[in-house]
Amino acid sequence: MTDLRPRTATRPAVSGEPPAKPRIRLRARLSRIDTAWSPYLFIAPFFVIFAIFGLFPLGYTAWVSLHDWDISGAGAFVGLDNYVTLFGDPDFWNAVYNTIGMLVLATVPQLLFALVLASLLNQKLRGLTFLRMGVLLPIVTSVAAVGIVFSQIFDRDAGVVNGLLGLVNIAPVDWRADKWSSWTAIATMVNWRWTGYNALIYLAAMQSIPRDLYEAATVDGASKARQFWSITVPMIRPAIIFTVIVSTIAGMQLFTEPLIFGQGTFAISGGSLRQFQTVSMYMFEKAFRDFDYGYGSAVAWMIFLLITILAVVNFLITRKGK
C-alpha cells in the first residue's frame, strides 16, 4: 500500500519503459498483461457466442439455400434453383402479401394512436405514474396469452366483437375466414400490445422539446393542432424514425399472434386457404414441417433481404419528409 513505484509503472501513459532496467517486477508485468488483454477478455464472451449462434447460422442459411437439403443432410448443390422455384411460388408471394398487409394495418394505427396518446399524456396530470403503467399493461401480457384472448374476442360464435356488432344489427363475422377480417383481428393484437410502449417513447421525446417554442407559436396565433403538426412532430422525428424501423422489423417477423389465432390443424398454414400466413410461418412450415431445409433457407434469406430493404426504405422516407 505504501510503495508507489510499481503501480505508476503500470499506467499506460508510461508504458515506454526503458528496457535497460535489470528486471521488471512480476507484479508490474502481470499488471501490464492485465491492462493489455483484459478488454479483449471482457468482450470475448459476446463475440464468441454471437458468432457461433447468431452470425454463423445467418450466413450459413445462404449456403444451405443453394442445396437440395433435407433432414438426412446436404444433398446436391443446386445453385439458385430454390430461388427460381421461390419466385414462381404463389404461396410464398401470398405470405409476403399477407405480412405486408398486416404490417401496414398494425404499424400505421399503432403509431398514430401512440402519437395522440403521448400528446394527451404530455400535460400536467394527476396520477401520471398510474396512467403510464396503465398504458404499458399490454406489453406485460405474455404473448401467447394475447393470441388466446383475442382469438376468443374475435370468435365467430362466442366472441365479444361479434356480440357488439350484433347490437347494431350487423351479422356475425367469421373473422378467420377472409383475408381482410383475419388481418384486422391479428393487427388488432399487435396494435393493442405496442401502442402504449410507443406512446412512452414519444412522450419522452416530447418532454425534451423547449417550452418557449410553443409559447412563441401561441403568440403568433397558431392553433393547438397546428402546433402539434408543425412543432411536436418535427421535433420528435428521431423517435418516430426509431419506432417505425423497430415496428417494421418486428412486423416482418410476425409469427406468434397469427399462429395462435389459427388454432387447430391449419395453424402453421395460417388458415385453410393461407389467408393469414406470414412469411415467418411459411419458412417454419417449409423447414420444420416439410423438413425441406434448402427451400426453407431460401425463404429465410428472402425475408432477411426484404427486412433490410424495408428498413432502408423506411429510413429514407422518414428522413426525407423533413
Binding site: 478488454p39 445467418l58 401467447a144 388466446i148 423447414a287
Partner: protein
C-alpha cells in the same frame, strides 16, 4: 387547470380501459365455466371456477404446463443473469478501456443490433442436432446468453454513469481490471442493468418461434405449452384462458415490482422489448 381537463381525463381513462380490458377478460374467463363464456351479454364479473380450471390445466397431459412454467422460469432467469453480466462486462470495456480495434468492434455491434438473427434458425437447428441439444433447454439458453443490444445499452450507460476518476482511484489502489469492474463499475451500472434485465426477462419469457422449432411437446416452454392448449382443446376457452393467465402472472409480478424502472428505461430511450 383549463376547461378541457375533464374531457382529457375521460379520453385517457377510456384508453386505459381499452388497454386493460383484455387482461381483465383473461381473468374473468379463467374463473368461469365453458357454459357461460359464449353468453350474450358476456359475463363481466369473475366467477367461482378458477380452482377447477387450474386443476384441469394441470391434468391436461399434452400441454405439460407445469414443466413449461419451470422451463421458462429457468431459461428466463439464466439468460437474464448472463445477458446482464456479459453486457455489463463488454459495455464497460467499450466505454472505459482503451484497446486496439475498439471502434471497429463497436461498429460491428451496432450493425448487428438490428439484424433479425431469427432468420438463421435452420442452421441453428442443425447445430443443435450436432450438439445433441434437440428438445433440451441448453438449446434455448445458450444462444441467448449474449445480446448485441445489451452490450450497446450498457456501453451507453457506462459512459454516463461511471466517472473515470473512480476507475483511476481503484487502479491506484492496485485493483486488477476485473476487480475494478466487479467492485466499482458493476455497482454504478446497477440501474441500467436492472432495465436491461427486466426487458431480457420479458423477452425470454415470450420467446416462441425457436422453442417451437427445437423443443418437443413433452419438454415445452410456457408459450409452447399454451399453443398446445389452443391446438388440442379447440373450443375449451376457459382452459386456454387459465393457462394464459398463469403464464402472465410472473410478468405481472415483475411489472408491479419494477414498473417504475421499466417506464424509466423506456423513457430514457432506445429500449426495445
Amino acid at each position: 387547470m383549463r376547461k378541457s381537463q375533464p374531457l382529457l381525463y375521460c379520453t385517457l381513462i377510456a384508453g386505459i380501459v381499452l388497454s386493460a380490458f383484455p387482461l381483465y377478460w383473461l381473468f374473468v374467463v379463467a374463473t368461469r365455466s365453458n357454459d357461460v363464456v359464449g353468453d350474450w351479454p358476456p359475463p363481466l364479473l369473475p366467477g367461482p371456477n378458477l380452482g377447477e380450471n387450474l386443476g384441469r390445466l394441470l391434468d391436461a397431459d399434452q400441454a405439460n404446463f407445469l414443466l413449461g412454467m419451470w422451463n421458462s422460469a429457468l431459461s428466463s432467469v439464466v439468460v437474464t443473469v448472463a445477458v446482464v453480466f456479459f453486457s455489463s462486462l463488454a459495455g464497460f470495456a467499450f466505454a472505459k478501456l482503451k484497446f486496439r480495434g475498439r471502434n471497429g468492434l463497436l461498429l460491428v455491434i451496432l450493425a448487428t443490433m438490428m439484424i433479425p438473427v431469427q432468420m438463421g434458425i435452420i442452421p441453428l437447428y442443425m447445430i443443435m442436432v450436432e450438439l445433441g441439444w434437440q428438445n433440451r433447454m441448453e438449446a434455448i439458453i445458450v444462444p441467448s446468453l449474449v445480446s448485441a443490444f445489451g452490450v450497446f445499452l450498457m456501453r451507453q450507460y457506462a459512459e454516463r454513469a461511471v466517472p473515470d476518476e473512480l476507475i483511476e482511484a481503484a487502479r491506484v489502489d492496485g485493483c486488477s481490471t476485473f476487480r475494478v469492474f466487479w467492485t466499482v463499475v458493476l455497482p454504478a451500472l446497477r440501474p441500467g442493468a436492472a432495465v436491461l434485465g427486466l426487458f431480457t426477462f420479458m423477452g425470454t419469457w415470450n420467446e416462441f418461434l425457436w422453442p417451437l422449432a427445437v423443443l418437443e411437446a413433452d419438454n415445452p416452454t410456457v408459450q409452447f405449452s399454451l399453443s398446445q392448449l389452443s391446438t388440442s382443446y379447440y373450443t375449451d376457452y376457459t382452459l386456454m384462458f387459465t393457462g394464459a393467465l398463469v403464464a402472465t402472472v410472473p410478468l405481472l409480478l415483475v411489472f408491479i415490482a419494477f414498473g417504475r424502472q421499466i417506464i424509466g428505461g423506456i423513457m430514457e430511450g432506445a429500449v426495445k422489448a
